[in-house]
Each structure stands twice: as C-alpha cells, then as structure tokens.
Amino acid sequence: MRDLELTGKTEPLRRETELRQVMVHLRRNRAAMAGLVVLAIFLFCAVFAPLLTPYDPTGTDLSRALEKPSGEHLLGTDELGRDVFARILYGSRISLAIGLISVAIGMLIGVPLGAISGYYGGKFDLFMQRIIDILIAFPGILLAIVIVAILGTGVGNVMIAVGIASIPIYTRLVRGSVLSVKEEGYVAAAKALGLGDLRIIVRHIMPNCMGPIIVQSTFQIATAILWAAGLGFLGLGAQPPDPEWGAMLSKGRHYIRVAHHLTTYPGLAILLLVLGFNLLGDGLRDALDPKSRNSR
C-alpha cells in the first residue's frame, strides 16, 4: 500500500512532463497548429457571436432577400433576407455543440463498455462484441438517420443519434487498448496486491488508453459535425429557423444559380471546421505516440 501511495504522489510530476512533451511536439507540427487556430477562431465566433454581428440570425427582412455580399451584409442575405454571416456565426454554436455533446455521449457509453468488455473477456465480451458488430454493420450516418426517425427531428435528438452511432467506434477502440494493456506487468502487480477490478481499470488501465481515445475523439467530433450537417441537409436535424449549416446548404441550393453565396459560405464553414479538427487530430496522434515522437 505504501508503494502505491508513493506512485500516486509521483504521478502528477510524470504526467506533467508527458503533457509538456506532447505540447512541445504538437507545437512543432505546423498543420496541427493551423488546425488549432481555426478551431480557436470558430470557438471565439461561437461564444462572441452577438458582439461580432448586429444582425439577428433568425430576423427576416423580405425587402432585402437574396442580396449579394456587401459592406452591410458581409456574406449577403438569404431568401428571407436574413444575414448569412450572422447565421454562420450562430450556426457554429449549433455545430460545435453537436460535435462536442454527441462525442461526449458516445464516449460516456462506449468507453466503459469497451473497458469492461476487454478487461473481463469471456461470454460478456463475446455478447457485447456481437452487438457492436451489428451496430458497425450500419454506416454511421445511416444509423443516425434511423435513430432520428425514431426519436424525431431536432438538435437534441441529432446529438443523441450521432452519439449512439459513435458508440461502437469507442467500444472497439478501448477494448483493443485494454486487451493489450491488461497484459502489462503493472496490472498483474496490481492484481497480485488484491486491488479491486474497478480500481485497476480506472487507475491503472484507462490512463494508458487515453492517447487513442483523445485522438479518436478529435476525429469523431469532425465526423459528428459532418453527420449533423448531413442530417440537417436532409431536413432531419435542426428545424427552421435555426441557422444550422447543413440546413442552410439544403435551402440555399435552390438558389445556387442566382445566389451562390447561400451555399458557398456555409459549405466553407463546414469544410474549415472539419478540417480544423482533422488537422489537430493528426497532430495529436503523432504527438501522443511515443514512437513517432522519438523518431524525429
């Protein structure tokens, strides 16, 4: 027990150096930094949207419909005279929220399931993995569509649907990591010391699985945002008048011949945000992997 407490004390120090190493490495990766900057900008826009534009994202002005971008309306107006720039700014709130919350849902359910499944193995694992097989057999977006069809449309239900659709990814990932980590000597040591399973999983196994989970989550947020935009495009996501990017694309495509700015800019917003998460994810993967870190 004394030994354990000792490691407990030294852990923060070790972690700090680990974190520092990761940060140093990440900072050297230009692409990842670019991604981080893009994300920071979007986050800033989402938080301070009301300060960045005087317009109400749902306020219509039919007399000024379908105006081209101008000094007054930076990115023009849509078919109901709403300011496209304002809608994109406020839309980033919806997209970021969907991305983060749905991934949190997926993680909260998927990670424990994977950990238990991998740690105990046996029949539970077999049973669990078959269920996951079934879920994986559906393409994620299709599964999300099915779930939204059951739950009904709306931003909240999209979060739940995309969250559920990303459970199997986490379960598989964590199970794999746990399977390899649980064979390590220190786990055997902990077991020999008579520690409870829960404690072993939470304190000794999970910290060593965090790398892949963080990397996967970064990519998964990007995927979730894309799926949500897809659902919005199909009319299953955010409902009018919410300024959701996918829904904006869907409405805007009717006017693509006369007012391309209705599709171009929401499309660019989706592209940039997803790209940002993906670049960051790439960088994190390299930074969190000791092998690739040492090789440079």
Partner: protein, 528 residues
C-alpha cells in the same frame, strides 16, 4: 517505393477520369436531308408532387387529376376558357321541374379493356362514387354529387340523374376530374384491391406503369374515339424540388415542367430553347387553424394571426410578383366571389388582439406543411414563421412530403396533431359551391371531407345549403356573398394568396394545354 507506386496509380486514375470527362462526344451521324427525320414522340413532364392515388374514391389533389385525365375522361369537360364541352356525354338538359338531368351519352366508345361505354357504366361509376351500396365507402369528394338521389338508366345511351333538390351546380360538378368514367370491370377489381394503381378509362392514353416515387408512364390509345394523339407516350416524373425541375428542363431530360421557381423565371425567359408560360389559377393558398384547439376557438386569435402576416411581402419577394394576396376564400374568377379582403398587415393590431385574448405573453403552435406541393411552400411557411414570431407567436414547423402530409392532416379532430396546417384549394368547377361547401360545411369534416379546420357555423351551414339548391343565379350569388363576409370575419384560415401558375416548356414542344385548373394536358401535343 510503395508510396511512389501509390501516387503514380492515383495520378493515372485522376488523369483517366479527367480524360474520360473531356473526351469529345461521339460524332453524331449527319442527318440525311432526303430522309424524313422522325422525332421520338415520347413526352416527359416533371411535376412537383405525386398523385396520392388514382382511384376516384381516393383522389384528392390536382397532381392526381392532371395525370388521371389523360387516361380517364369525364362526361363533361371544362375547357381552358371555362366553357362546358361535351366529352363522354354529347349533350345534357335539365327536366322541366329541375329535379333531374338527362345526359345523352356518346355512342361507340370503348374502355381500354374493351368494355363498351354505356349508361350502365355511368351508373356504376356514379353509384360507386356516391357509396350507394355502402355509404362508408363513398368518395372523399362525394359531396360533389351531394344532392343526387338516384342515377337511372333510361336506355343504352341515356342516363337520368335524379336530385333531391334542384341542385344548381350539378353540371359543373360532373366536369370534376375526380368523377372520371372508369371501366366497371376494373373498378370491381379495384374494390378487391387489385390493380389499385392502374386506371382503365376511355381516354387518349392508356396506363403503362407507375414507379412509385419516380414516374407514371402512359401510352397512346390507338383506338381512341376522338382524335388519336400524336405522342407515343406521356411520362409524368415527380420532382419535388423546383430547382431540380428547372435543371432537367434545361438539360432536355424533360420537355415541360410545372411550377417554375420564381427566382428562375427571369433567367428561363431569356433562354431561346425554352418558353415560359404564365397562366392564371383558381387556387387559393391558406394556413388553416385547427378550430378544435382551445386557442383557436377565440376569433381574436385567428384574426390577430391574419393581421400579423405580410401577404404583399410574400408575393413580391418569394413569388417575384406572381399571384395576388387573397381577397376572399375563393379567387375572383369564381362565380359567387366577393372582394372582402385582404387583411391588412398590421402588427400592432395583431398584438392588441392577442393581448385581449389573453395571449399577450406569447403563444406556441405546431404548424404542419407539405414540401414540393405548392410553389415555394416551405419558404412561405418559414417567412410566416418569422412574421408570427414578431407578434409573439412561436410556430414550430413540421414538414412532410405530399402523400404523408395528406394522411397526417386529413384526420378526425381527435387524431389531429397540428394547430395550423397549410393547404391550397382550386375551385375547379368555377362555382363557389365547390370552394365553400367542401371547406366550410360542418358535414365535411375529415376523414370524409375537406373541412380540415373543423369549421362549424349554423348560419354558414344554412346559407350553403340554401345556395346549393337555389336555381336563380343572382339569388345564389347574393347568398355566397353573405357566406364570404361571415367567413372573412370569422377567419378560420390565415388567408395567404391567390396562386399564379408559371410553367416552362422546351420550345420544340407544341400543343400542350396549360389549364387554369392547374392541369397540364398533353393529348394535343407533339414534339417537333
């Protein structure tokens, strides 16, 4: 090494795809000037919504009528100018007492399945429509023949229609597309749930196929009793999105489209290969209240919402000026019309009325609407949503495609989930009875009627009943004026606009009929 190989492969693939895309099209064989070039006479038309059904008992919409009238004919045909023309009935006359009508049928006509068309067939069709054997199985539109007591076969080619009262609009009602004459054999099969989608009529085209969600194909009827069409086939494709219809027209995938999106009108008018056709319509568009909902029992709330909507802005912006704000529950071209509106746009008045009614703090409503059925339907609803929000009414939108939508809103009050619904109504008989009786008489509640607002007013009922059976035209007209005044004050709808039709046709297509009833008819058409 493997990486380079991969890059090389990817490059090769990209170049290949690009080269394929750029390859010059196969040179077309030079047309031989001596040879008469036969253009394929297969016409394709894109419309927004799919017929919900082609069984006369279940037909409910103009798209269904548009398709059906190519295969199934009526006794009487209402032409583009609003005149009654002989179709399967060569002539008709009222009995002296006005209590019955004689129809003299065209001789020598056969249904597509070879069954002869005669008085028995007419009786069979009308009896089925009325639900004579089983009132529960009457057509949704059975009210069209509401005053008919009996259909009598006088001889092989004469039918006498007996009335309970001297029912003034009977002749125009017989021209309604939903009272088409089907082969009795096919109807029997239909009632046993066979051939549910293959109408067998006497029309210039015969049914070929129906690919649900995609298209209906009809072929020329070479044995047609009238002038046989020049077209080999007519196909109606269902394309809910206006912009997609336009692109299909421009690429030549289809020859004609209905309901051009307003933003495309100017551009299409500039294209030499395409003719844009403007036509009036007999349709009004409205947002009806579910008056069984407590909040809409209060006339002040209903009026408030009428004041809250800027109809002019909708017409000017979303329709580029095509159409007019509604001035009555029916359009001006209809017999019985009286101008009583429009409700002016007055947000202060709307807020005041809501305040008086006890909804000063706002109000939440469920608004159901179709998409692809009416021009700009979903955009109009979004505009209205924003306008209502300004007076404190929070409208939540629910969108359905046409077929699902009808099933969702044409239901009994108990089953209704909507507070407000969007529908349009074309008074296709050009007589106010059809526009007002069907939508406001208390006997016409769904599921067997079209009074989707569940409107019930004793005075209106009495006036509608009286107007139906009054033979004198000016007295009838006056009755309808009274009804319209009451309805306007009572505001069972948010009165939106009178539609205008804009269709577009490739310029090598001639002879299409663009009907004010919102039908596009191809029997006289050909492709040059």
């Amino acid at each position: 090494m493997r990486k380079y190989l991969f890059v090389l492969l990817a490059l090769a693939l990209a170049v290949g795809v690009f080269a394929y895309g750029c390859a010059p099209p196969e040179p077309e064989p030079e047309p031989d000037p001596d040879e008469v070039v036969d253009v394929e006479q297969d016409l394709v038309v894109a419309i927004g919504a799919e017929p919900e059904n082609l069984d006369p008992l279940k037909m409910m919409s103009a798209p269904a009528a548009t398709v059906a009238e190519h295969m199934v004919e009526n006794l009487i045909y209402l032409d583009v100018d609003g005149e009654m023309q002989p179709a399967l009935a060569e002539s008709w006359e009222a009995a002296e007492d006005g209590m019955s009508w004689y129809l003299y049928l065209r001789e020598g006509v056969q249904f597509h399945d070879g069954t002869p068309f005669n008085a028995e067939a007419v009786k069979y069709n009308l009896d089925r429509f009325l639900g004579v054997d089983d009132p529960d199985s009457a057509a949704v539109f059975a009210f069209l023949l509401g005053e008919v007591s009996e259909v009598e076969v006088v001889d092989e080619y004469t039918v006498q229609i007996h009335l309970e009262n001297p029912f003034a609009p009977i002749v125009s009602h017989l021209s309604h597309s939903f009272i088409g004459m089907h082969s009795p054999d096919s109807l029997e099969a239909l009632d046993e749930d066979e051939f549910a989608e293959a109408p067998v009529g006497t029309g210039p085209f015969t049914f070929a196929s129906w690919d649900r969600g995609n298209e209906i194909v009809m072929e020329r009827n070479d044995d047609y009793w009238g002038e046989v069409p020049q077209l080999d086939s007519v196909t109606f494709k269902f394309v809910p999105e206006g912009s997609s219809r336009v692109i299909m027209l421009e690429t030549g995938e289809v020859h004609a489209i209905m309901a051009v999106p307003p933003t495309d009108i100017d551009r299409l008018e500039g294209e030499p290969e395409i003719d844009v056709v403007h036509q009036t319509s007999v349709r009004v568009l409205y947002l009806g209240f579910n008056m069984e909902e407590e909040v809409f029992e209060d006339v002040r709330v209903r009026q408030a919402l009428n004041y809250a909507v800027d109809k002019n802005a909708i017409i000017d912006t979303l329709f580029q000026g095509v159409g007019e704000p509604s001035t009555a529950p029916i359009v001006p071209a209809i017999f019985g019309y009286k101008q009583v509106g429009p409700y002016e746009y007055d947000q202060d008045r709307a807020r005041e009325l809501l305040e008086e009614a006890g909804y000063g703090d706002g109000l939440e409503v469920e608004l159901y609407h179709p998409t692809g059925r009416y021009p700009q339907d979903d955009t109009v609803v979004e505009a209205v949503q924003a306008m209502l929000a300004e007076v404190g009414v929070d409208a939540r939108l629910t969108t359905y495609d046409w077929g699902t939508y009808l099933d969702t809103v044409i239901v009994t009050p108990d089953e209704a989930e909507h507070d407000i619904y969007m529908l349009g109504w074309g008074t296709v008989t050009l007589d106010a009875d059809y526009g007002l009786y069907a939508l406001f008489h208390s006997t016409q509640w769904p599921p067997y009627g079209n009074n989707v607002s569940y409107y019930a007013d004793d005075e209106v009922d009495a006036l509608l009943d009286e107007a139906r059976i009054t033979p004198e035209r000016d007295v009838r007209e006056d009755l309808y004026h009274q009804i319209i005044e009451i309805l306007w004050e009572d505001a069972p709808w948010i009165f939106l606009h009178d539609e205008g039709q804009v269709n577009a046709v490739r310029s090598n297509v001639e002879g299409l009929i663009h009907h004010p009833l919102e039908n596009l008819s191809a029997w006289d058409a050909w492709i040059e």
